[in-house]
Every structure is written in structure tokens, then in C-alpha cells.
């Protein structure tokens, strides 16, 4: 288990990078690299993290970073892996690190291809639920009701469920995580490292400017996403779903906070009517009803 005590004190994402104040994605990349360690090669497509690296000739990254084209993360990771293998360069972890646009939208084809081939790397999607790098345009990972510059009256469609798409590929490991729970995230990376094949982690990454909340509230918003049940922390492996962290106690509606607490804390949901808020609450309840069935089928439903 990764704990605060044994989490590496080494920093592989150095301070003084170009991330916005309160950025959950850079916070999470920092944590991820602590777990992955110095013998890691990271490939990154166009996304916030490409800007966060700042300008040549400096980089905050203390491990090799290979930037690639927007759609190409998983293909790039596959190429890295093939080279390491054929050159006999052992003991190097490969990480594909991409945003929701580069994962759920333009990069999903390459990701699906790599998953079908079961390439031996970790792919982490840090999901800030819109194209934040270009100034908050809607992506297929933008949730219903959220205002972006291209969903100006609030998105009408539901968020694409990428973890389920990855589960359909029957890769060794799929997990969700949330930047507000870095140790849960870290533990999932540790587990992923112990498995061979493609490991996919989908990380909810609250974004102060894009979601429109004050920078100091990043952790609080992330925790609300989980405690209201809007975001479920779970793992999937060999056909079984398992809840992790706070989500373990969220299976009953009565244990979940009203979704409204999560929504009203963010400017992107400020246009919602009472009726729309109610509909979104129903979405969450339905999401849990369905998820609970999966837990029962997996034999992993919490007892009592």
C-alpha cells in the first residue's frame, strides 16, 4: 500500500512549471511520477500538460518526456515499448499521459488499437472534462449540463464512459481515480505496475478556470465529486468491479450527498434550472443503480 510515509519524497515534476494555480492535473502527474520513479519514459500529446512543460530549453520533467501529436499518445507509447523491447532496455516504465480530448475524442482510436494489442504500458487520462488547453471547449467527456464555450447553454449529452470502453477491451486493469485522493490514485498506479499489458486509469481532474471555482477549492471539489456519487472510484480486473476509497460507502443513495452541493460549487453549472439539477441527480442515481448491479455480479458488493 502506498501511504504518505512511503510515497517517494523525490520530485520528478519540478516547481516553477506553467500550470495554472490549483491545477489538479499537474498535482496528479507529480504523484504519478513519484510512484513510477526515475526509470520511466512518458509520452504526452497536445493537452494542458504539453503547455505545463513550459518553453525550451527548460522542462519541469526529471524523466524523459516525448511529446507527440494530439491523437497519437497510445501509438507513441507502443513505439517506445517496441524499441525498449527490441533493444533489450529492461526495467523502464512507459506512461501515456493525455487529457480527455486526447483520450475520449481524437485519441480514442490509437488507444483502442493499443488496448486490443494489449501493449505493456500505463495510460492515464487526466479528465478535466473539456478542452481546457484551448480555453474550455466541450469534449465528449464534458458532463451533461456543463457550460463550455462550445456548449454555451449547457451540454445536452451525457459524458462518454471511457473506462467502460476500456473494460470492453478486456485489458488487465482499468481504474478510475480522482485528483482529490492522491494516495488512492498512487495505489492504483502501483497495482498497474505489477501487471503486464495495458493498464488504463481514468483520473477526474478538477480544473479551477475551466470549471469556474477558486483555485484553493480543487481538492474540495474533487471530494464532492466522489461524496455526491457523481464520480465513482473503482477498479476493474478480470471481470470484477471493486469500489475503492470513499466510494465504498456510496452505494446507498442515503449515504451520498445531494448532487446539488457539487453543482452549485462550480460556475460551469450555474445555468442549471431546478428541473435540470433534478435530472442530473437522477442520472447519478441511475448510474449507481447500474453500478451496484455490476458489483453484485462481481460478488464485490459491500455487505450490510
Amino acid at each position: 500500500m502506498i501511504t504518505l510515509k512511503n510515497l517517494s519524497a523525490e520530485e520528478y515534476m519540478l516547481p516553477g512549471n506553467a500550470a495554472c494555480p490549483g491545477c489538479a492535473s499537474v498535482a496528479s502527474l507529480r504523484i504519478a511520477l513519484k510512484v513510477l520513479g526515475p526509470r520511466t519514459i512518458v509520452t504526452i500529446p497536445a493537452c494542458c500538460s504539453s503547455v505545463i512543460q513550459g518553453y525550451y530549453p527548460k522542462s519541469p520533467a526529471r524523466v524523459p518526456f516525448l511529446n507527440t501529436a494530439f491523437a497519437a499518445t497510445a501509438a507513441s507509447a507502443s513505439g517506445i515499448l517496441a524499441a525498449l523491447e527490441i533493444k533489450g532496455r529492461e526495467g523502464i516504465n512507459v506512461l501515456g499521459w493525455a487529457g480527455d480530448g486526447g483520450t475520449a475524442d481524437i485519441g480514442i482510436q490509437a488507444l483502442s488499437g493499443a488496448a486490443e494489442r494489449n501493449e505493456n504500458f500505463i495510460y492515464i487520462c487526466y479528465d478535466n472534462e473539456a478542452y481546457m488547453n484551448t480555453g474550455t471547449q466541450g469534449s465528449s467527456a464534458t458532463p451533461r449540463g456543463a457550460v463550455t464555450t462550445t456548449t454555451v447553454t449547457g451540454k445536452k449529452e451525457k459524458k462518454k464512459n471511457v473506462p467502460e470502453i476500456m473494460i470492453a477491451h478486456e485489458i488487465p486493469y482499468v481504474a478510475t481515480a480522482c485528483a482529490a485522493y492522491p494516495l488512492d490514485f498512487a495505489e492504483k498506479i502501483r497495482k498497474a505496475l505489477s501487471m503486464k499489458g495495458l493498464k488504463y486509469i481514468h483520473l477526474l481532474s478538477p480544473c479551477p478556470p475551466g470549471w469556474r471555482f477558486p483555485a484553493e477549492k480543487t481538492v474540495e471539489i474533487g471530494k464532492l465529486a466522489v461524496s455526491t456519487g457523481a464520480w465513482i472510484l473503482y477498479e476493474w480486473s478480470e471481470g470484477k468491479y471493486t469500489l475503492t476509497g470513499l466510494s465504498k460507502g456510496m452505494t446507498k443513495k442515503s449515504s451520498r450527498k445531494p448532487l446539488k452541493e457539487y453543482l452549485t460549487a462550480q460556475g460551469r453549472f450555474s445555468r442549471l434550472s431546478e428541473e435540470e439539477t433534478k435530472a442530473l441527480q437522477e442520472d447519478v442515481d441511475t448510474q449507481w443503480d447500474r453500478f451496484n448491479k455490476k458489483l453484485v455480479e462481481s460478488g464485490t458488493a459491500p455487505t450490510g
Binding site: P38, R39, T40, I41, T43, S50, V51, Q53, G54, Y55, Y56, S59, A61, R62, V63, P64, F65, L66, N67, T68, A69, A71, A72, A74, A75, S76, A77, S78, G79, I80, A82, A83, L84, E85, I86, K87, R89, I92, Q109, A110, S112, G113, E116, R117
Partner: protein, 387 residues
């Protein structure tokens, strides 16, 4: 060994010891990667085959493999190349010495699988060395030389080479193959230390993060200078390859009977041989005809060609390609290097045959126009009325 142009490429890539092949099937290229997949599966080539889901991913994987020190190859054609284009630029601008075979095919719509060069030429500004093969033997030889050229420390840029669909890709001829030991002596292992970009946890670097206007031009100029050195690299590699193979090699271009020519025809690709036959026929009729067959498109050997045919009375250029709103691409490029106009013939689009008679007709046409003092202009050769 009797091989098609496609299989000749596969065997060339094999003996060059490519280490990563990431590829996606497309007619008429598919045989190249099928054969490589087979050679790898049988253990005849020690390499990783990545069965990618698109050409875009193929090039992304090749780039990443080169960045981790592996010799990478892919092959594509037409739509595949167009789809790959973003990463073609990435490889060129990032100086990743990937090599790629391109079987030239018409871009749809409507669907066509037949020969045209526009696919290859549309990538000409991407920072790649671009060559055109004219025979299966040359395809084999070029597949090997391409790695030497790409990895040469003076260049360090990717190399692509074209094969005409079917007339070269699927036409079998006798191809002399080289022993592994001979090629090993010619093409050393890829040394990561000389790569512009190498991903090494012991010496961590970031490649591709933002570069402001203050330095981008200077890095682009490095690539420009690399291409200034490219003609010498290509010629030297060709000469060395002639020595190990015992076969004369073409570096930048072939000059066929141009030294005393009054009319010279410039062509690329597999039909150049027919153009040379046409020049012979003209000479039989007392017309001093010659042919320049360009092998290199990038670097474009404009100055070198001008030295050979700059004083020729009439220059005819055949383009099996077109840049709409401008003209034939090779004709346009050559015009920029020559004083006076060139007679531009657009022919063979969509795979239409260009016969020896057609080449004769073009040279006759160009020479008679020059003798009459007519301005050079573009002709769509053999254009018919639509039914």
C-alpha cells in the same frame, strides 16, 4: 531472386536490420508489410512488428521507436500517407531518421488504386528526403541506402521513397540480393548517441515542448542546412553502395544521353525507362534526345540538372501529378531552377498508361514548339472528351 518491387523493399528492409516495423495495410503497398510480418514471425528478421490501427499511429510509433534508439520502418500509399501526414511532418521537423516506402497511388474520390505521384509529392515540405525508384532492383537497393542516408550524421532526417503502383510494386523482375555481412559492413548499427532525440532515463530530456519565436527559425535552419548537405550524402552513399553491390547506383538523378541533346525529357519513376527508349527512337530518327530521370525530389537537384541540360533547346517535363491552380509539380520545381520555360506535360493521372510513343510525342512537341519560338505551356497529354 525474382521479386516484385514490393517484395524487393521487404527484403531490403530485412537485410538493413530494421528493428521496429509499425504498419497498416493499404493497396498496393500491403505486400511490403505482409512479407515483413512473415519474416519477423519466422525469426528471419529480429524486429518488433506493431500491428497499428492506422497510418497515423504507424508513423507515431516509428517516431517513438527512433526516439528510443530503434531503427524504424513503415510503408504506405496514397490515402494512408495523407492520413499520416501530421506525423510525417512530426518526423521531419523532429529529425527522426525513419524510413518509409510509399507505393504511389491516386487519391480519391472517386476510388482509384492506380498509379499517380501526387500522394508522395504532397509531402514534399515535411523535411523528408524524397526519392523515386525506377525498378525492383533499385527499390531493394534504396530500401537499404535509405537508412544510411537518414542516419548519416550530416543529415539525420527521415527518408521516403516511391514505387509506382503496379508497374513497379507488383511487377516481378530478377533482383540481386546482398549477403547480410556485406550490408552489415555498409550500414552500421544505429548509434543512439548521434540521434538528435534520445529518450534515456539516465539523461532525461524533454522533446517537443513549446518553442517560442525566438529560436524556432534557428532550429528550422538546422534542418535546412542538413538538406544543403543531403546531395553530397546521397551521392556518397550511392557510390559506396555501388562498391559493395557491384552495381552502378543512381544518386540524385540519371542522365541518359543528355550531353549532346537538343531535347531533354525529365521524368520520375518506373516509366523513365520507357522515356529512355523513346529517346533512343528519336535518335534513330536523327533527333538528339536525352532523358533526365530524377531519383531525388528532396533535396531537389535543380542546380545539378541545370548544369546538364540548362543549354538544351527544349526541355519537356512529365508530371504524373498535379497541383491544382498551379500546374505539374516537377515541372514547376524545375522551372524555378532553369532559365526560360519548360514544356510541361501532365500525363498518366489515375494510372493511365504513358507509352513510349507518348514520350516520343512529348519530345517532338516540345522541340517543334521551341524551334517555332512558341512559349512553353502546359499540355494535358492524351486528354479525351468525356463520354
Amino acid at each position: 531472386m525474382i521479386l516484385t518491387g514490393n517484395y524487393a523493399v521487404s527484403y531490403g528492409v530485412k537485410v538493413a536490420r530494421a528493428e521496429v516495423v509499425a504498419a497498416y495495410p493499404i493497396t498496393p503497398q500491403t505486400q511490403i508489410i505482409e512479407k515483413l510480418a512473415e519474416l519477423i514471425a519466422k525469426g528471419d528478421l529480429r524486429a518488433k512488428y506493431i500491428r497499428v490501427e492506422s497510418e497515423h499511429s504507424a508513423m507515431a510509433a516509428c517516431i517513438a521507436a527512433e526516439a528510443c534508439g530503434a531503427r524504424a520502418f513503415t510503408a504506405t500509399s496514397s490515402h494512408g500517407l495523407a492520413y499520416m501526414s501530421e506525423l510525417v511532418f512530426w518526423a521531419g521537423m523532429g529529425r527522426f531518421p525513419v524510413t518509409m516506402a510509399v507505393v504511389n497511388r491516386t487519391l480519391a474520390p472517386p476510388w482509384s488504386i492506380w498509379n499517380e505521384h501526387t500522394d508522395l509529392l504532397a509531402q514534399r515540405d515535411a523535411g523528408w528526403v524524397i526519392m523515386m525508384c525506377s525498378s525492383a532492383q533499385e527499390a531493394y537497393d534504396t530500401a537499404i541506402q535509405a537508412f544510411r542516408i537518414a542516419e548519416d550524421e550530416r543529415l539525420l532526417q527521415p527518408v521516403m521513397y516511391g514505387l509506382d503502383a503496379f508497374s513497379l510494386s507488383h511487377t516481378a523482375e530478377n533482383v540481386d540480393l546482398l549477403d547480410q555481412s556485406v550490408v552489415d559492413g555498409f550500414l552500421p548499427k544505429l548509434d543512439p548517441a548521434k540521434l538528435p532525440v534520445y529518450m534515456d532515463p539516465d539523461n532525461p530530456i524533454t522533446f517537443g515542448n513549446l518553442l517560442g519565436p525566438d529560436a524556432m527559425m534557428e532550429f528550422r535552419h538546422l534542418t535546412k542546412e542538413a538538406f544543403d548537405r543531403a546531395p553530397a550524402v546521397i551521392e556518397q552513399v550511392a557510390q559506396e553502395f555501388s562498391k559493395i553491390s557491384g552495381r552502378p547506383q543512381t544518386g540524385l538523378f540519371d542522365d541518359y544521353r543528355c550531353s549532346d541533346a537538343e531535347v531533354a525529357l525529365v521524368a520520375i519513376g518506373a516509366s523513365s525507362g520507357d522515356a529512355m527508349d523513346a529517346a533512343d527512337n528519336l535518335r534513330d530518327r536523327g533527333v538528339r534526345a536525352g532523358v533526365i530521370r530524377l531519383k531525388a525530389i528532396r533535396p531537389f537537384p535543380g542546380r545539378e540538372v541545370r548544369e546538364r541540360i540548362g543549354g538544351v533547346k527544349a526541355i519537356a517535363v512529365v508530371d504524373r501529378d498535379y497541383s491544382y491552380g498551379f500546374g505539374g509539380i516537377i515541372g514547376g520545381e524545375l522551372s524555378s531552377c532553369l532559365k526560360g520555360g519548360v514544356h510541361r506535360y501532365v500525363a498518366g493521372l489515375g494510372g493511365r498508361d504513358i507509352t513510349i510513343g507518348d514520350f516520343e510525342g512529348m519530345m517532338d512537341d516540345a522541340l517543334s514548339k521551341a524551334e517555332r519560338g512558341e512559349d512553353a505551356k502546359e499540355v494535358w497529354w492524351g486528354l479525351k472528351e468525356l463520354a
